[in-house]
C-alpha cells in the first residue's frame, strides 16, 4: 500500500485563488476580491516561480503578509487596502501600493522596497533590518519601533506627512526621514514620546521638535553636511515617486534626533 501525502504547496492551494488576466505587455493581473490571504500569497509565489516579473493585484481588501516569501526582485502593484504585516520579513520584491497600508507594514523586512501612495498605520517598519519604505502621507503610532542595522545593511524609512506618538520607539538602528509636508504653516508635529528608549540609529525631522516631545534618551541637534546629503538624496527620490519640489522641501531646516547612549538601561538590571 502506498501513501500519498499532499505537499505543503498543494495544501496551501486548497481554496479558491484569484482570477488571472494578462495585460498586453504580458503582466499578470490577479483579482484578489474575496480570496483568503493564504491562497492569494501562495498564488503570487507560484506565479513568480513560473517566471512572472511583474504582477498587479487588484481588489485587495485586508489580505495579510503580501510580499512575504518571494525571494526575487519582482514588482508587485497592489490596488486597494493591503492587510496587516505587508512585506513581513520580505527579501527582494518591490511593492507599490495604490491606497493606504494598514498596521505592521515592513515588519522585520530584510531587503526590497515598498512605496505607498497613501498613508500607513501603526508600527510601520517594526524591527526592519534592510531595504526601504516610502510613504507619501501620514503614519500611525510606534513607527520605526526597534528598527536595526548591521554593517552596510541600513534600513531607510521616508515619510511625507507626520506621525503619531512613540515614533522611533526603542530604535536600534536605521535611518528615518519625516518630512511633515501636510502640516500647515507654523504647525508642528504633534507626536509625544518620540524616540523613547532609542539607543541607535537616526531620525531626521523636517521642521521643529520640542524637547518635551522626545524621550529622555534622545538628543536633538542639526544634521551635519554628510547627513544633509543623505537627506537630500532621500527627498530627491521622494519627489520622483510622489511629486513635489526638492528645493522647496530642503528650504526648511531639519532636526536630527539621536540617542544619547548606546545602553540607556545598562545600569537598570546590572548593578
Amino acid at each position: 500500500m502506498t501513501w500519498e501525502f499532499a505537499s505543503p504547496g498543494a495544501f496551501a492551494m486548497a481554496g479558491p485563488t484569484g482570477k488571472i488576466t494578462y495585460q498586453p505587455d504580458g503582466r499578470a493581473v490577479v483579482d484578489a476580491r474575496g480570496i483568503y490571504y493564504r491562497q492569494l500569497n501562495e498564488q503570487l509565489r507560484q506565479l513568480v516561480k513560473t517566471g512572472a516579473k511583474e504582477i498587479d493585484v487588484i481588489n485587495v481588501y485586508g489580505q495579510r503578509y503580501l510580499g512575504t516569501s518571494i525571494p526575487e526582485h519582482v514588482k508587485l502593484r497592489i490596488y486597494g487596502t493591503p492587510g496587516n504585516d505587508m512585506a513581513f520579513a520580505m527579501h527582494g520584491p518591490e511593492i507599490e501600493v495604490f491606497g493606504n497600508a494598514q498596521d505592521g507594514l515592513g515588519n522585520t523586512m530584510d531587503e526590497g522596497e515598498v512605496i505607498v501612495h497613501g498613508s500607513a498605520g501603526d508600527v510601520l517598519a517594526m524591527s526592519m533590518r534592510g531595504g526601504s519604505l516610502w510613504v507619501k502621507g501620514n503614519v500611525g503610532y510606534r513607527c520605526g519601533i526597534h528598527m536595526k542595522e548591521y554593517g552596510d545593511k541600513v534600513p531607510l524609512v521616508v515619510i511625507g506627512g507626520s506621525c503619531q506618538d512613540f515614533f522611533g520607539e526603542y530604535m536600534a538602528g536605521g535611518s528615518v526621514v519625516l518630512l511633515g509636508l501636510g502640516l500647515a504653516a507654523g504647525e508642528t508635529h504633534k507626536a509625544a514620546f518620540m524616540g523613547t528608549g532609542m539607543h541607535a540609529g537616526r531620525i531626521f525631522v523636517r521642521g521643529t521638535v520640542d524637547p518635551g516631545q522626545v524621550g529622555k534618551e534622545v538628543g536633538l541637534t542639526e544634521p551635519d553636511a554628510a547627513e544633509l546629503e543623505q537627506i537630500r538624496a532621500a527627498v530627491r527620490r521622494y519627489v520622483e515617486l510622489f511629486g513635489g519640489d526638492e528645493a522647496e522641501i530642503m528650504a526648511t531646516p531639519f532636526v536630527k534626533m539621536y540617542p544619547k547612549s548606546l545602553r540607556p538601561y545598562g545600569r537598570l538590571y546590572a548593578y
Binding site: V60, Y61, R64, D122, Q164
Partner: protein, 380 residues
C-alpha cells in the same frame, strides 16, 4: 447567573484578557442599514476572532414599540424560562414573549433557548425609582439569582444579538439581514483568559448602553469593586462588562456628558494636566480624584453606544488598533481600514484617532425624535 466555571474551567483560573475585532457604523441623520453590511465587514476581519464569540448591537430596530423595553434572554433550561417569565410578569406588563427568529447555521451550535419580551414596568412597583433604574435592578436580579437565565439585551428600540461562533455566522444565524438599524456595532472575540460562552460574547449591555471591546481591562478588579458599591454586579465572566456599567453610572445616573465619560475612562496623563490652563487643570484633576476607580487601565479600543449616540475610544497610548472614516452622514469605526473600504468604497475621510481622544457620533434632533420619542431621560 450561569456558573460556567465548573463545566469549562476545572482549574478555576480567573484571569481576564481579550483581543478581538471591532466594526461600527452610524448615520447622523438616522438613515437605516440592513445587517448584511456589518456582517460583510466582520467577515472581512474573520481572522481577528477565533470563533469563540461574536455579536452585534443594533439601534432603531424596533420602531413599532419604541417605548417598550426589549428584553433578549437566553435560557439554559425550560425551568429557567418558566421561573424568569413568572418573575417578569410580576414586575412588568408585557406582551407575550416570542422566540428570537433564527435560521439554522452549521457554525452555530449548542444554542440556548432564545426569547425576547417587550416590557413596560409596572408603575405601582417603582417606589420612586425611574423606569430605567427599575429595569437595571430587575436585570441584575435575573442574572444573579435565576439559575440558567441571562438577560443579554434590555434597551428600548435596540437589541443585542450574540453567540459563540464566528461573527458573520452569528449575524446570519440571527437573521440580522432582516433588521434595519441606524447604528450597528459588531465584535469578534478572541478570548485569551476566560472561557467562551454565549453570554460572554460582545456586545455587553445594560438598558440601551452597549460596548464592544478589543483589549483587556487590567483595572478590572478596581472597577468591579467600585461598581458593586453602586449596585452593578459582574456576572458575565469577562472584563468588558465593567465598561457598560461604568457608562450607565456616569452618563445616565450621574448625568456626565459623553465627552467627560471618556475623560474618566481614559484621562489625560498627569504630565499633560500639569500643562493645562487653571480651569482645565481643576476639571481634570477633579475627575481623576472623584472617579479614579473608573479609570480603565490597560490596552483597549472600544465602541460604546446608546440611544442616539455612539462613541469610539482608544487607550491613551494606543495599544489596540482603531480606524475611523466618514462618508456623508455616516461614520465608520473598525479595527482595520479594509472592511470599511469593502462596505463603502468611496470615503470622504479616513483617519487614525489619537489615543484617549473620542470619536463621537450623534443623531440629529429630527432623527432622535423619530427613533427615540421619549428622548433622553434626565434624572434628579
Amino acid at each position: 447567573m450561569w456558573d460556567i466555571g465548573k463545566k469549562q474551567n476545572p482549574y478555576s483560573d480567573d484571569k481576564l484578557h481579550d483581543a478581538c475585532g471591532i466594526f461600527a457604523m452610524m448615520s447622523r441623520s438616522g438613515r437605516t442599514f440592513a445587517g448584511d453590511i456589518p456582517i460583510t465587514a466582520m467577515e472581512n476581519m474573520h481572522d481577528r476572532g477565533n470563533g469563540l464569540g461574536g455579536g452585534f448591537a443594533a439601534y432603531g430596530i424596533y420602531p413599532d414599540w419604541p417605548e417598550l423595553f426589549a428584553f433578549h434572554l437566553m435560557f439554559e433550561t425550560k425551568e429557567a424560562k418558566a421561573e424568569t417569565e413568572k418573575y417578569l410578569h410580576q414586575h412588568f406588563s408585557s406582551m407575550d414573549g416570542e422566540e428570537i427568529p433564527t435560521r439554522p447555521h452549521p457554525g452555530i451550535t449548542s444554542a440556548p433557548i432564545l426569547f425576547r419580551y417587550f416590557l413596560r414596568p409596572n408603575h405601582h412597583l417603582l417606589e420612586g425609582l425611574s423606569e430605567d433604574d427599575f429595569v437595571v435592578q430587575r436585570v441584575m436580579h435575573i442574572n444573579l439569582k435565576i439559575d440558567g437565565a441571562f438577560v443579554f439585551s434590555s434597551g428600548r428600540n435596540m437589541g443585542v444579538f450574540k453567540a459563540v461562533g464566528h461573527t458573520e455566522d452569528v449575524g446570519r444565524f440571527f437573521k440580522l439581514d432582516e433588521y434595519e438599524a441606524y447604528c450597528w456595532t459588531a465584535h469578534s472575540r478572541f478570548p485569551t483568559n476566560t472561557t467562551a460562552w454565549w453570554g460572554g460574547a460582545h456586545p455587553f449591555s445594560v438598558l440601551d448602553w452597549t460596548v464592544v471591546h478589543n483589549g483587556e481591562i487590567s483595572s478590572y478588579g478596581t472597577n468591579r469593586n467600585y461598581l458593586e458599591m453602586q449596585g452593578y454586579f459582574c456576572t458575565m465572566h469577562t472584563d468588558t462588562e465593567v465598561i457598560a456599567y461604568a457608562m450607565d453610572l456616569l452618563a445616565r445616573r450621574h448625568g456626565l456628558p459623553i465627552e467627560m465619560v471618556c475623560k474618566v475612562m481614559a484621562p489625560p496623563l498627569w504630565k499633560d494636566i500639569d500643562q493645562m490652563a487653571q480651569a482645565d487643570r481643576d476639571l481634570y484633576t477633579t475627575l481623576r480624584v472623584i472617579y479614579g476607580p473608573l479609570l480603565m487601565n490597560g490596552p483597549f479600543s472600544i465602541v460604546m453606544a446608546h440611544q442616539g449616540e455612539m462613541v469610539a475610544l482608544g487607550d491613551r497610548i494606543r495599544l489596540r488598533p482603531l480606524v475611523a472614516a466618514e462618508r456623508d452622514d455616516v461614520i465608520y469605526i473598525a479595527s482595520e481600514e479594509a472592511p470599511i473600504r469593502l462596505v463603502e468604497p468611496t470615503l470622504d475621510r479616513v483617519w487614525i484617532p489619537k489615543g484617549g481622544e473620542p470619536v463621537i457620533v450623534r443623531l440629529d434632533d429630527a432623527a432622535m425624535a423619530k427613533a427615540h420619542p421619549e428622548g433622553r431621560q434626565v434624572l434628579k
